[in-house]
Symmetry: C2
Subunit: 343 residues, 2 copies
DNA sequence: CCATATACTGAAAGCGTTTTCAAGCAAAGA
DNA sequence: TCTTTGCTTGAAAACGCTTTCAGTATATGG
């Protein structure tokens, strides 16, 4: 950063006061055409651009919104980022992204503090956060900013929340399988310490019970530490005497390994066994090349877009801050891994 | 943005001057332990964080670096973003990303001006820019910032440049094919108004001539407007009396359509025809599911990483600015679409 | 023609920091 | 005891901008 030309120099050159230059730049108040002309001319010849920091300091607003994403590079975020981008395009605010790698708590804290101290007017948080993290407390209580948390439903926080109805989504997936005539439906969950895993498992249970189907204990598997384990889980499911005709997986990465396991065992998908995933992820790990996985899609694009929109509206509004809580439904994307048992 | 607690309040609470608080916060100069204790205590109880804008204003530096990328969501940037992230992790600077959609010139200009006016100390530009764009002129001449341009070799600009040797990369690809025993090698280029297309075409020519091979006019095709045209180009190549045994494509997207065309014509890849691409793109358009495409990889990770590193070093250095110009070599990634004609 | 309203402009204060400068003070040396 | 030195501290200026306030000039109405 190296500021070259200031408002003062423009004022001197145009033979007016700084106030007048400011008025011209911000198109505020009234300035006679001839003065405006002189100022415009001075701005042009000096190639003046107002200093953002100085402006932010006095106005106490930056006209900017920050987004913090864990692992920005991850193609999983394709639609989310697109939503942010489109939201950014439609707002007059500057939108900036910060990426926090994996479990790097330090930089997570660094970026939240950085953004919330006079760099942006609001932030969007994607990733998992805990209510008692110091920096979240700071953001919530001391920074005076409003912010959006995506996929994090922390009751004690007074912020906007964009949530996905994982229970319902999972339920609809299993109901979809049931609708295709399946009734021996197994489940492979993900890391069971995560909320999303238990939610989706509950959705599975809901659907099974709702349809009056028995839930067998050995139909429930968990790829606890890593989605690669989906392979082993599937193998043991397929080895059961009463082999399930369909498997609902907690996410597409697990599902991709489940499909692989089935194919490796000589089973056909979906003729011999149907597999369903969650997330509708377009890039699967380890160069997956099986059939495209029927899945449950989350409206990530919409969530990204709405995050920016909601913040923009709140910032422009003069009404007192009223946090928004949005629950997003999911939709089933029919692809190639689910077959029908009917007819 | 809503600043709550200022250095003034901390000073009052700790019964010291603002200067002392500043010294404690910045760990500069000497402060007696007891005063430091009082200040630390006041900071903690008030939950004080220094205002970034105010600091930037007086120090004329922001300890931040900005990155502008066209279409941040595009998975093509996977490695580039990873490089940026790792570079960011290793520097003490704050690193922020801005995304510019497609041909949205306005926001391109908006973000460059935004960043370069007291928001960051340096920027990285990925995307295509022209020397005579006003905002590039501003960045180069008036902003006083140093910046990196990736893949843009504009002579008149006094900036850091990170370039990819497309000629060499294409040459090595074709030489690789020749090494596999091919001598009837065709080429499908991309948009011929782009520098990268002509460079890669020239690399093709270099390799052919270097090996003493004739270049047939009807072996040269161009998917000018869209990579989908790779399909048609390939079809006409495959219809030739003297069918080429290998096709070098200007990029992987085109190559993927070329492969499809061959397969659709009942040809086997690579047994009947070899196909080679460029970029080693991990996500191909339109759910490509053919064999993995042998390609030329650009060190995008390295380029991203180096961009941050170079800027960090320059910013920390007291020496006068000396622009860096780096040319990166490419490497061949052997996958499944090239066969050998020998033995 | 005077009083009043209106439009325009500039001086100056202030935003929250850092940093310079001088003052105060204790320790050290003569 | 008196300087000198070095360390610690605070007052105040400055960074570049916006905005208030007051002042001047012009237009409006009676």
């Amino acid at each position: 950063m190296a500021q070259i030309v200031t408002i003062k120099e423009v004022a001197k050159r145009a033979n007016v006061s700084q106030a007048t230059v400011s008025r011209v730049v911000n198109q505020i108040g009234n300035v006679t055409p001839e003065l405006k002309l002189k100022v415009d001319h001075a701005i042009e010849t000096l190639n003046y651009s107002p200093n953002h920091a100085a402006r932010a300091l006095v106005k106490k607003q930056t006209d900017s919104i920050g987004i913090i994403v864990h692992n920005l590079h991850d193609p999983f975020f394709y639609d989310l980022i697109k939503g942010f981008e489109e939201g950014a395009r439609q707002t007059s605010y500057n939108v900036v992204f910060c990426s926090v790698l994996g479990g790097d708590m330090d930089s997570k804290e660094k970026y939240i503090r950085y953004l919330s101290n006079g760099v942006v007017d609001a932030v969007v948080l994607y990733g998992s956060y805990l209510a008692d993290e110091a920096v979240i407390q700071y953001l919530n209580n001391a920074s005076g900013m409003n912010y959006v948390m995506i996929e994090n439903d922390i009751r004690t926080l007074n912020c906007n929340k964009m949530l996905i109805d994982n229970v319902c989504g999972a339920k609809s997936a299993v109901e979809y399988l049931i609708g295709k005539g399946h009734n021996r439906i197994a489940h492979i969950g993900g890391n069971s310490s995560k909320r999303v895993t238990t939610d989706r498992f509950n959705g599975y249970l809901d659907a099974m019970r709702g349809a009056g189907l028995e839930v067998w204990g050995n139909y429930i598997q968990h790829a606890n530490t890593d989605y690669h384990l989906g392979y082993e889980c599937m193998k043991s499911l397929m080895a059961l005497r009463e082999r399930p005709t369909a498997v609902f997986c907690s996410d597409d990465a697990i599902a991709s390994f489940a499909v692989r396991a089935a194919l490796d065992m000589g089973l056909r998908v979906p003729e011999d066994v149907s597999v369903m995933g969650f997330d509708n992820q377009r890039i699967l790990p380890d160069r997956y090349r099986g059939p495209d996985i029927t899945s449950v899609e989350q409206p990530l694009y919409q969530i990204g877009f709405d995050s920016i929109r909601v913040l923009t509206e709140q910032l422009k509004s003069s009404k007192p801050f009223e946090p928004v809580r949005m629950m997003y439904g999911t939709s089933i994307v029919e692809k190639e891994t689910v077959g029908s048992l009917k007819g």
